[in-house]
Symmetry: C2
Subunit: 156 residues, 2 copies
């Protein structure tokens, strides 16, 4: 009944922002061991959001959010702007980044992005939402993102 | 960040009916080892629903459902009727029992009960709902129940 042999029955992966940043992302960035291979590595800009469902599946249950690690891809080799395009569309930031705290310490930030089909500045807004996490202490760290349909945004 | 030392960060106890019956309840009834002490033993009829929150707490997070094992208390020593009264009120079954399957096999049943304050046949209906599980193969087995406020019934 369980995907991971050392997780007891009935336990499911529902991480908090703090756990994503302070455990999973921090360990990934510093190349420390992560206890469980629950977050896959993907190249987000070579993959369409609807293809992530299969790649980032956890077990056999229905999911409405998916977790992955992906390196940021720079638009130009010498620049700081990020290339967020895929073959079918692009990711566009929306709203303000959210601060993530551990007790009273700022440990990271969460950026929200929406997927548009087509090419900027045009493109058709979709229901796909991504949360991209970064360590506050390491701006160049590997982002960790969760992707989910807009309809279930409140769960993300 | 985690209550149980051998559960990886980000995993929370959100069991399915099948897991509750086929792993936790079955092992309890047959006195086999349960991997993790996540479901407490209580005497449900000596305790009020609002006191279960503290006893059955898992970690520090807010919960709206609580899990416990409790023996059924017979109303009369020789009878089969169950005494579901506490000091402050009583539990009353509602609706039909739900069958729980593992693949295509019937493994257990789930009874839903509502807590009424006061004494039967009067009493004031409350928002407390309990799901009492039993093994289909062992009618006299220890029931395992999850208790939650009515408002979050859909999560139970």
């Amino acid at each position: 009944m369980n995907t991971f042999p050392h997780v007891p029955p009935g336990f499911r992966f529902h991480p908090t922002d703090e756990e994503l940043v302070d455990y999973y992302l921090r360990r990934k960035v510093t190349s420390r061991q992560i206890e469980i291979d629950v977050i896959k590595d993907v190249d987000l800009y070579k993959i369409e959001p609807w293809d992530l469902q299969e790649i980032c599946r956890i077990g056999t249950e229905e999911q409405n959010e998916w977790y992955f690690f992906s390196h940021k891809d720079k638009k130009y080799p010498t620049g700081t702007r990020t290339n967020r395009a895929t073959a079918a569309g692009f990711w566009k930031a929306t709203g303000r980044d959210k601060a993530i705290y551990s007790k009273h310490d700022l440990i990271g930030m969460r950026k929200t992005l929406v997927f548009y089909k087509g090419r900027a500045p045009n493109g058709q807004k979709s229901d796909w939402i991504m949360h991209e996490y970064r360590l506050e202490t390491d701006e160049n760290g590997t982002p960790q993102a969760s992707l989910c349909p807009y309809s279930s945004l409140i769960f993300c």
